[in-house]
Symmetry: C2
């Protein structure tokens, strides 16, 4: 077991990345070196996946025209979401919900096509492919934080419109526009808490024992 | 920015946890101290969530009878999955797909009920709640690995049957039976690779630039 054991300092570093990771919307331009970007994506690629299906696909958006088109799709959905929010419309419109124009790199994370043939662990829960992709994105997020880079997951877009824009085949589905890059500073708490949009609930309220609703 | 920077040793530790995390099915009994379990769950609870909805709920299964009932549900689905796999039925039946009876702790991770009212980031992608729950589970997985504990995510169950067993309200949905605890050793590679079930693909094949299918 000895070489499988993490030192206290290593454990602390893992907990630190988990605690200090933030969903960033404010970026300071700059660049991400290709080797660093590759390292981050390799971290994503080491995620678990149901039946080892590795359903994730990543598109690096290096074309500024495509980036602008993606930003346009997000802006359209931002307005539709604001309208759907009713009495919180104005409040929502004041929030910064994406950093597509300001971040160093934009990545689109998508589910692959041809997922139906993967039955292992998905016969009753086909959405396990989303779970695997999300674990990959969380790896990317934590590795980015450790590298001092911010990342934001934007889900404000019409998936079919984005799929069409990026030439995705039928069955593939974009799940994330990821903004990645240098930031001035990391939020000391989730931005939606700082902005007064929402409050975080204590863990104890979300934890039960044996039966739903029975708090520990 | 200085205090936001991770040292090289801290970065290495984060990458190590990502690289050495495994989806474990073999456990060696034992226990997980309550404070340690709480630390792991607090790590899960620090995950990002869409619109800060924190859709995750965790049920600790301390009742051995309930654990046995969960194992029964998983066994039923294991057989149904094997049948659905056709020519790979026998091969699948030889795999160890869960460690429910051998692990120190069983946790069930579920999506909360009453999710419809959360529109932020979910108007076009309602499945973002699954994404948030999955990020929480990945945090739990990485923290467990750093603590020297194994974890396995079992998704072989009929979700409504498990929801009924645990008294979940309408709209709540179990997504994971998590086996957690001490292990003899961590697999040196994903168990499904070691067992010859599947092969891992290189990242380069899953990475495109601007347009789907255009490799970098």
């Amino acid at each position: 077991m000895t070489d499988a054991t993490f030192s206290q300092a290593e454990r602390d570093a893992v907990y630190r990345a988990i605690a200090e990771r933030r969903d960033m919307r404010h970026f300071s331009g700059g660049t991400v070196e290709p080797e660093l970007l590759r390292r981050l994506l390799e971290a994503a690629h080491q995620a678990p996946s149901v039946g080892l299906m590795q359903p994730w696909r990543f598109l690096r958006i290096s074309d500024r025209t495509v980036r602008a088109q993606i930003q346009g799709l997000v802006e359209e959905e931002r307005i539709r979401t604001a309208q759907a929010l009713g009495e919180r419309t104005d409040e929502f419109m004041k929030l910064k919900v994406e950093g597509i124009n300001d971040c160093a790199e934009v990545l689109v994370a998508a589910l692959m096509d041809d997922r139906e043939r993967h039955i292992f662990g998905r016969r009753t829960l086909p959405e396990m492919d989303i779970a695997s992709l999300s674990c990959a994105i969380q790896n990317l997020w934590l590795a980015s934080r450790a590298e001092g880079l911010g990342m934001g997951w934007v889900s404000l877009f019409e998936p079919q419109a984005l799929a069409d824009l990026l030439g995705m085949p039928p069955g593939a589905k974009p799940m994330a526009v990821l903004c990645l890059g240098p930031v001035q500073e990391f939020y000391p708490a989730p931005m939606l808490v700082l902005e007064g949009w929402a409050q975080s609930r204590p863990l104890g309220e979300l934890l039960y024992e044996n039966v739903w609703g029975e708090s520990q």
